[in-house]
Every structure is written in structure tokens, then in C-alpha cells.
């Protein structure tokens, strides 16, 4: 990424623009069900082996620069890690690369909590 893109990202890091940076759990579930976004789990392979979401793509953050061609360009990319530190970082990288990307606010831990019991049915899994 070049310096100009990073400068532009920094200028946008104002409170009013944070809606462009992150997406909440319910908003994500709705967009996913409507086919408007894809979940990108950027955790390490050992992490996705120990507990995994059965949706979206699994691309470890350190492999992402070489695997950009696997990302859909026509959809919003929702970047996720357990909380939101790594996902926020990766979201910045992808935004600088010209992708439409937000990080999942609440993280995968929040999503797992959100999808407990009957609430799991609110997610329409694609096969």
C-alpha cells in the first residue's frame, strides 16, 4: 500500500466515519442473510482448528497479502477475529487496497454469544 492511501485512511478516522469502519453483530447477520457481505476469519490456522464458524472464508492475516484474489470484490468484506484488534488492522489494510471492508464489532466471541439457543436460527447458512 502506498503512503497516500494510508494518509487518506487516517483523515477518515473521525467519530462520524466509524460506521464505515465497523459493522455490528445484528447488522452483519442481516447483511449476510441477504447475501450482501462475506465473513473473513483472519485468525491463525490453529485458532480456526480449535473453534470454527461454518461460514465465510478463513484466511490467516499473515497470508492475506498473497491471497487477495480470493476475496470477493462485489461484496462487503466483514473482517473478524476473536475480539476486534486484529480485524481492525486487517480492515485498514484491505481498505487501503481498495476493498469494501468493515471489521466485525463484537468479534467472533460476540457472534458466538449472539448465536446461542434459538437465536442460531437467525443465521441463514449458505452451503
Amino acid at each position: 500500500m502506498n503512503a497516500v492511501e494510508i494518509d487518506e485512511l487516517a483523515r477518515k478516522a473521525a467519530p462520524a466515519a466509524m460506521g464505515e469502519v465497523r459493522i455490528g453483530l445484528d447488522e452483519f447477520i442481516q447483511a449476510y442473510n441477504e447475501g450482501k457481505c462475506e465473513l473473513i476469519d483472519i485468525r491463525m490456522p490453529e485458532e480456526t482448528a480449535i473453534w470454527q464458524f461454518n461460514l465465510g472464508l478463513r484466511i490467516p492475516s499473515n497470508e492475506l497479502p498473497e491471497r487477495l484474489d480470493e476475496l470477493p470484490r462485489e461484496k462487503l468484506l466483514v473482517i473478524a477475529c476473536p475480539m476486534s484488534d486484529r480485524s481492525n488492522m486487517v480492515r485498514s489494510y484491505l481498505a487501503a487496497k481498495g476493498f469494501q471492508a468493515k471489521y466485525l464489532s463484537g468479534g467472533l466471541l460476540g457472534l458466538a454469544d449472539r448465536l446461542k439457543g434459538g437465536a442460531a436460527k437467525s443465521l441463514k447458512l449458505r452451503q
Partner: protein, 132 residues
């Protein structure tokens, strides 16, 4: 007969049993790695379809009465759900069926939270071929 067993269990419930019915993450991680405990995710199928752990068994709570033969009676059966309410029900049922069972107080969300980053790597290495 089961009602009688349940009543007897309640009559015998004391401070010791109040502690014995529970298990926390560090001990669970050890017992599972040593092959002394089996983990059972008792969530509904829709919940499992959304996300699951890479180790342990999955038997929905409402299928448990008909699937007891899948459980190893020589092991401590650790029941788990996102938090611990349903796991406690499952544990009580298993106790009344003669199993040694404890419920995971930290829940599956506790496991997911505990096994982040390098801790995920270290535990997967520790359990080796016991992973799914």
C-alpha cells in the same frame, strides 16, 4: 424409579457435591488432554451448524436420552453449552443415569475466549490426534 433416584440425589446433595458438579477450564483442559474426560457439546443442531469446537462430541440435549451408548462410562463426561445453564441440566441427567459427570462453568464461550492466538496453537499441539 428415576424419580426415586432424583429424590435420593437431592437428599444426598451437600457442600461437597455442590463443588463436585462443576469443572473449570484449567482442570478440564488437563483432564481432556490426559484422556480422562470426554467433552460433550449439548447445543441444538442449528447452534452447532453456526460454529463448533474442533474437539469433543456433539449430542444435542434433546437427543441425549437416546444416545447414551456414545458416551464412555470410564471417563468423566464434561457437559458444555455457550454458558452453563443447559450443561447443568445435561450433567444432572447423566448423573441420574449413573455417569460421572461435571458441567463446564466457563462454558464454550469461555473455551473460545481462553484459546485465542498462541494458546490455541499450544493446546492443539498438546491434544495432538484427539482433535477432530
Amino acid at each position: 424409579m428415576e424419580r426415586h433416584a432424583f429424590a435420593d440425589y437431592l437428599r444426598s446433595f451437600d457442600y461437597e457435591e455442590r463443588l463436585a458438579m462443576k469443572i473449570q477450564l484449567p482442570e478440564m483442559f488437563d483432564l481432556y488432554a490426559e484422556g480422562k474426560a470426554e467433552l460433550v457439546d449439548i447445543r441444538f443442531r442449528e447452534e452447532y451448524a453456526a460454529w463448533n469446537l474442533g474437539f469433543g462430541l456433539h449430542i444435542p440435549l434433546n437427543e441425549l436420552p437416546d444416545r447414551l451408548e456414545e458416551l464412555d462410562r470410564s471417563k468423566i463426561i464434561v457437559t458444555m453449552c455457550p454458558h452453563y445453564d443447559r450443561a447443568e441440566i445435561a450433567r444432572l441427567y447423566l448423573i441420574l443415569q449413573g455417569f460421572e459427570s461435571r458441567y463446564l462453568t466457563d462454558g464454550m464461550l469461555g473455551i473460545a475466549n481462553a484459546l485465542r492466538g498462541d494458546r490455541a496453537r499450544d493446546y492443539m499441539n498438546r491434544i495432538g490426534d484427539r482433535r477432530k
